[in-house]
Symmetry: C2
Subunit: 280 residues, 2 copies
Amino acid sequence: MTVRRSRAQRAQLALLLEVAGTPKPGNVDRHRDYPDLRFEHFLAGAIGAHEGLQLAAEGERVGRAFERAVSGMSQQEAGNTQFGALLLLAPLVRAAADGDLSPEGVHEAVEATTVADAADFYRAFDHVDVAVADPPEAMDDLDVRRGSDAVEAVEESEVTLYDVMERSAERDGLAREWVGGFERTFRAAGRIAELDGPVPERAAETFLELLAAEPDTFVAIQHDEETAEEVRERAEDALVGRVDPDEFADELVDRNVNPGTTADLVAGALFVALERGVSV
Amino acid sequence: MTVRRSRAQRAQLALLLEVAGTPKPGNVDRHRDYPDLRFEHFLAGAIGAHEGLQLAAEGERVGRAFERAVSGMSQQEAGNTQFGALLLLAPLVRAAADGDLSPEGVHEAVEATTVADAADFYRAFDHVDVAVADPPEAMDDLDVRRGSDAVEAVEESEVTLYDVMERSAERDGLAREWVGGFERTFRAAGRIAELDGPVPERAAETFLELLAAEPDTFVAIQHDEETAEEVRERAEDALVGRVDPDEFADELVDRNVNPGTTADLVAGALFVALERGVSV
């Protein structure tokens, strides 16, 4: 009897293939590190995420599976590696486990999230520092950076995890996926499936296409919207050959401009592509 | 409660850190692929090995755990990626699970192997093509390349897996570890622990030291003993700076000279180092 890759393992492999895709301008990739955020941290993060991903594959609540995955991912020295990718993977794995890995299926999974899932989402911030936008002043109590200290406020306000994402959708590209049927994730999965060549190369090409299409919201938070738009335009140039993608990648790392949201989308897309039969 | 890396996951991480170590002359590394054996195949192989490694961590027979790990590892398009590394990891994980990850502890684990383990070892060859030396003529029935077809002969001859390794120890560096208390593996683990810097860089340095110290037996089988000795001398030159390790690495890949046994030793050593508290 052959040992087959499980669903949670496909999600882990998606995390690994994402970081191996090169060049992925501004991100850790097979050829680039940040001084304190290196390739091996992503390897360890992907290994550690297994337990949480396995919970999602077994039908556990999305928020709980996510929090467990983040806890395991964070067991390496760089802190956060794939928080955003896990935020997409948890509901995608859950939808696949429920037998409907489609925009409708994953919408069902995220819409079914509860206040308990929201509380788990806040708890996940205890494990890692994640750069996020400041909340509106009236929502200070619900600042995710408070982590589990905010859980009481979360429970009092009775917000579900889906509600939390709705409130962030304007500024956060991952929250936008949550409330928009994972549109870009599924589109990117289609691109990965239709491109030729080694899967990490397809992932890198898809990354560049995504980056050229919309400003990366993590860059907008980490720097500002002008930088995010500038990076988008340069990605467009790289895509059509006006800029060398490798030089662009070196430059963004030098400037500490990290389009992490776009990388997260690629990780989600790789999982969908693997589920649909793309092989490595 | 924090999700901690399990023992089987440490073994998976060792596999990933090994392939990420660069340059590792002649091997797939973070910067080098072979046309049909690429980095992503190693990522998928390490993910797939989990079930077998987990069995070893739960005290399953070494041969059985190895065969299951190889089966899962082989679920990618390149066929064999880490067969040899798993042959070291299965007893190392088992010894660690038994509470004694030392030369004595792992010797106990391999000496306790049975005819059933030997049969599983042969079955593992059904999953992948592995280049091995021709057996002595009188042992044609026990040619490992026959895979499970040889199981009947294995059972009739009543050889244990340890016996099989004893017979191969002269020509195979991994079998030599099995019968010699994993001497080079533990020594290399010590080097990884005492070197400074990112763990994949320590692994690459240790690889070069191992390669400079003894001819790689996989190179001897794949090519001949002269080539293996030439590679050893060049590794020595690289170690002392007479040869650029990166150019040496490119050259060996171009010549299809693949010191795989030495890479396997590094994977085993990384697992020991992680168990002993080296952190990523």
